[in-house]
């Protein structure tokens, strides 16, 4: 700067010859003035430098104070310190959280040599800078954990001492900022994880404040209650509708209870009003906690819709009652025959007949147990199907092969087109359906009468039909026989054994494939029963099947 610090005329603007130029006193005074001016300028420049340093420190602190994330902080710090030190490039290594070495987190400027991503320790950093005189190591904060910065001077120049001094002065502040930023990032991560746990929970989570106003609802709660985030701020009575749904009386709100007592409720069942005004049975826990020590009090309910569980329990109770009845009847028979054999003096042929009866009954019991197991599997979990493309004709062939053992295969009349498309099914399961329906047809129709198997294509489905000339299923019973343990009245009284589970199992297996099973009359008024069920046609074969339908007169079966 060429500022005249001391204003004229002292600056000697007028050096014109003076009559008293030789005056020694004047010369001395002039020299004195010049010296004072130099000192003044030095003091001014010194003050200016100090002001520059102060301002640089201020800017660095401001940057450190406002950086939000560790990466933002490290990038800003590298750029700022490179600028302060007049460096060409800089790189920053941050000590790992576990104190196990340092990782390169930010670098700026042209870096001549490839910088190591990792430094084992501070000594490794020292070696890195010792190898190159242009490099300077700045250790930020006490070790360990340390953060190190390596600055490289531009070619032929040295680093700015003032800048390095600022870095040294700020080292603790920087170290604290790095620790803070890291903690902040860890907290954010944890908060994010917790938030995703709450958001992803399948249980409804509802949180209320001391006045029982809803402060938080997770997506599961919104779905269960049929509300959105406008529910926030409304009272839990309004949002949950417990009283309306008959969950509890006005004075027995579990949330109010935990707010008042501070005691958690580990398990309680109640009812809520669902999105469509229906009553939903829920079970869950209630707790009260301050969010932060001294913070606002919150009560949290974690609730699960148990309507389905309750319904299942009812079904199970009915199931047990029916099964025990079904088991008790044949068991009583067995016991009766066995007691007769034990206690009565029977003629050998009669004794043999009783044993024969016991054998028959136990076979039926065996079948019953098998079928109950099947039903249990069907109810227990979603059925896992092993689907594969298969020709319906091959399932029919397998069924016929099984019947050959008893010689009844001769009763089967199979009428299948050659060009039926392949179906995409679990062949073991559908094989059982076919076997079961054919078994029923053989069982309930007069001995020797034919059982016809047919198939046709309709809208991407292959409809199979099993026709018999038996007693038929009364119209009002056609739906019921597909439910567990139900046998139509016209066979219930007959001596034909049955568990009432076969058709139910068939229906479940067909439905697992997305198909339908129904019982009806045979076409054209023929006596007997037609059982029909649908199976998905293999995706790629559908188009072809649709074309075929155009040429053939095969329609969906009736019933």
């Amino acid at each position: 700067m060429t500022v005249p610090i001391v204003s004229d005329p002292v600056g000697g603007v007028d050096p014109s010859p003076d009559s008293r130029a030789d005056d020694p006193e004047l010369t001395r005074l002039r020299a004195r003035v010049a010296q004072l001016e130099r000192e003044h300028r030095r003091a001014f420049e010194q003050a200016q430098r100090e002001a520059d340093v102060l301002f640089a420190q201020y800017q660095l602190s401001q940057l450190v104070a406002t950086a939000a994330t560790p990466s933002e902080l490290s990038r800003s710090v590298v750029i700022e310190l490179v600028r302060l030190a007049g460096a060409e490039s800089g790189a920053l290594w941050l000590a790992d959280a576990g104190g196990d070495g340092l990782t390169l987190v930010a670098a700026t400027g042209p870096i001549n040599q490839t910088l190591p991503e990792r430094l084992a320790d501070l000594d490794a950093a020292r070696r890195l800078t010792a190898a190159d005189p242009a490099r300077e190591l700045v250790v930020l904060g006490d070790e360990p954990p340390a953060t190190v910065l390596v600055l490289t001077a531009p070619p032929g120049r040295t680093l700015d001492r003032d800048g390095l001094r600022i870095a040294q002065l700020a080292r603790h502040e920087l170290a604290v900022a790095f620790v803070g930023a890291r903690l902040g990032a860890a907290l954010d991560r944890e908060r994010e994880e917790l938030r995703s746990v709450v958001a992803g929970a399948t249980d409804a989570i509802v949180q209320v404040d001391e006045a029982r106003r809803v402060v938080r609802l997770n997506p599961a709660a919104e779905r269960l209650l049929g509300v959105d985030d406008t529910a926030i701020g409304r009272t839990c009575d309004e949002v949950l509708g417990c009283a309306v749904a008959g969950g509890h009386g006005e004075d027995h709100c579990p949330l109010a209870e935990v707010l008042a007592s501070g005691q958690s409720i580990a398990y309680r069942e109640t009812a809520l009003r669902g999105g469509e005004g229906e009553s939903i049975q829920v079970a869950g826990g209630y707790s009260r906690a301050p969010m932060t020590p001294g913070g606002p009090i919150r009560a949290t309910a974690i609730l699960r819709d148990v309507s389905a569980v309750r319904a299942l329990e009812q079904l199970r109770e009915g199931f047990v009652a029916t099964v025990s009845h079904e088991l008790r009847t044949p068991l009583a028979l067995v016991r009766g025959y066995a007691e007769s054999i034990l206690h009565l003096e029977l003629a050998p042929d009669q004794e043999r007949e009783y044993v024969d009866r016991i054998h028959q009954v136990t076979s039926r019991l065996g079948d019953l147990v098998d079928q109950i197991l099947d039903v249990t599997h069907l109810d227990a979990d979603p059925l896992i199907l092993e689907r594969a493309p298969v020709a319906f004709a091959s399932l029919v062939a397998r069924c016929r092969g099984d019947l050959a053992l008893s010689g009844e295969d001769s009763r089967l009349v199979v009428d299948l087109a050659d060009d039926l498309p392949p179906i995409d099914v679990d062949s073991a399961r559908i094989g059982r359906v076919l076997e079961n329906l054919v078994g029923n047809a053989l069982k309930y129709a007069p001995a020797g009468s034919p059982v016809k198997i047919g198939a046709s294509v309709s809208d991407g489905w292959l409809w199979a039909t099993v026709d018999d000339e038996g007693v038929g299923v009364p119209e009002e019973e056609r739906g019921l026989v597909l439910e567990p343990f139900h046998r139509a009245w016209n066979v219930r009284e007959s001596r034909i054994p049955g568990t009432g589970l076969g058709l139910y199992i068939c229906r479940r297996l067909v439905e697992a494939h997305g198909g339908r099973l129904s019982l009806g009359e045979r076409p054209n008024g023929a006596p007997g029963t037609r059982a029909s069920f649908s199976m998905p046609i293999l995706a790629g074969a559908r188009l072809q099947a649709a074309e075929l339908r155009g040429h053939r007169s095969v329609g969906p079966p009736r019933g």
């Binding site: 500022v3 005249p4 002001a51 800017q59 940057l63 939000a68 902080l73």
Partner: protein, 234 residues
């Protein structure tokens, strides 16, 4: 910034597109005219404070306009305190110190430094002529660059101030009228200010944003143009 055409009235027609050239030649800048310019600057800052703060909310900590407005209110009080005969150089130095002391954030020390350096350059002359004004603007730009450790392209005040100072010096050296030179300086400053939108911030709080700072004008560059426009002789 006030220029006088009194020293070189024959150059008034040197720049043909100059809309100011036809106007009456402005007189030399004395303390009274400088005070009037500073008062205009204070009013302009007040008018633009909200907009500047909004700009700063994107890149910095959202206080630039309010900080400057606070500082210039203090400067107005200062003008009343100082004797009327205070020379322009001393006036500018006092204003600079007041800005450093009252404007929060980095802009206080930066604008303060610019004023102090310009004041030093003016020395204790009673009237500023155009070459001296050009030198003062140059000193202001150099001082601000030194204190802020910034260069053109860093997305700072300097992106307006440096081209303005260069253009003023070059126009006067090229024989332009003071009014035309002033126009050229303002236009160069305006172009510089606009160019900050495309820059990645390398100084100040916006530094942490990195590439996200692209697309926003630097609030400092904008406020610098506001000040130059207000100070310009009309």
């Amino acid at each position: 910034m006030r220029l006088s055409s009194a020293t070189r009235p024959e150059t008034a027609s040197a720049v043909s597109h100059d809309p100011i050239a036809a106007a009456a030649p402005p007189p030399l800048v004395d303390a009274a005219r400088l005070r009037a310019g500073i008062r205009r600057a204070a009013r302009a800052v007040d008018r633009h404070a909200a907009a500047l703060t909004r700009l700063d909310a994107v890149l910095g900590d959202g206080d630039h306009g309010d900080n400057l407005a606070t500082g210039f209110r203090a400067v107005l009080e200062l003008l009343d305190e100082l004797p009327a005969e205070t020379p322009p150089g001393d006036l500018l130095r006092a204003v600079g110190h007041r800005l450093v002391a009252t404007v929060g954030g980095a802009s206080g020390p930066l604008y303060g430094t610019a004023c102090i350096e310009a004041g030093f350059h003016a020395g204790d002359v009673a009237v500023l002529d155009p070459p001296l004004v050009a030198g003062m603007l140059e000193a202001a730009a150099a001082g601000l660059a030194r204190r802020g450790r910034c260069a053109v392209g860093d997305k700072t005040i300097l992106d307006t101030l440096r081209p303005a100072a260069d253009a003023l010096g070059a126009a006067l050296a090229g024989g332009a009228s003071p009014a035309a030179a002033q126009w050229a300086a303002i236009e160069a400053g305006r172009r510089g200010m606009r160019s900050t939108a495309g820059m990645i911030a390398r100084r100040g709080l916006a530094l942490r944003l990195g590439e996200r700072s692209i697309g926003h004008r630097d609030p400092g560059a904008v406020s610098c143009l506001v000040l130059l426009l207000a100070l310009a002789e009309r």
